[in-house]
Symmetry: C2
Subunit: 87 residues, 2 copies
């Protein structure tokens, strides 16, 4: 079975997000002071082959914990969709 995972990795709420702060400040300069609290993270899309949805979920979790996210500074969440196999 083929799955596509959509993963969002964001800095922890409690942490400063300097990139987001800089972008928030820039919003005023382009005439959009109504935009506030910008926070910037990563979005990762990947394809995965697994025997079941549970196995795919476990593998995506492993990939996030080991490689894609830094659990000290970031939180992640993901959705998993089954791709139609081209049989």
């Amino acid at each position: 079975m083929n799955f596509r995972a959509d993963i969002t990795v964001m800095p922890h709420r409690a942490l400063l997000d300097p990139q987001g702060k800089a972008v928030t400040a820039s919003m005023g300069n382009i005439g959009l002071p109504e935009i506030e609290n910008v926070r910037i993270g990563k979005h990762i899309q990947l394809d995965i082959v697994a025997d079941s949805r549970e196995e795919a979920e476990a593998k995506v979790k492993t990939a996030c914990d080991k490689l894609l996210a830094n659990p000290i500074m970031e939180v992640y969440e993901f959705t998993l969709a089954e791709l139609e196999s081209v049989a």
Copy 2:
């Protein structure tokens, strides 16, 4: 009215994504060769004050076109949720 926008900015399908290619290769090294086609983009969350949902949408579009995404290399999509006002 207060809205929260969740914006996903991804590299165009047709373009090479060197960061994603590097991460795809690393997946094999951490024992997950079943993961392929990794593509890496940005996830941006922001708060916006507007008189209506239409106005908020227009402002988020402007922010994406002017600042958050590079339309030559990236595509973006976003969702908008109304926040409960603390009146």
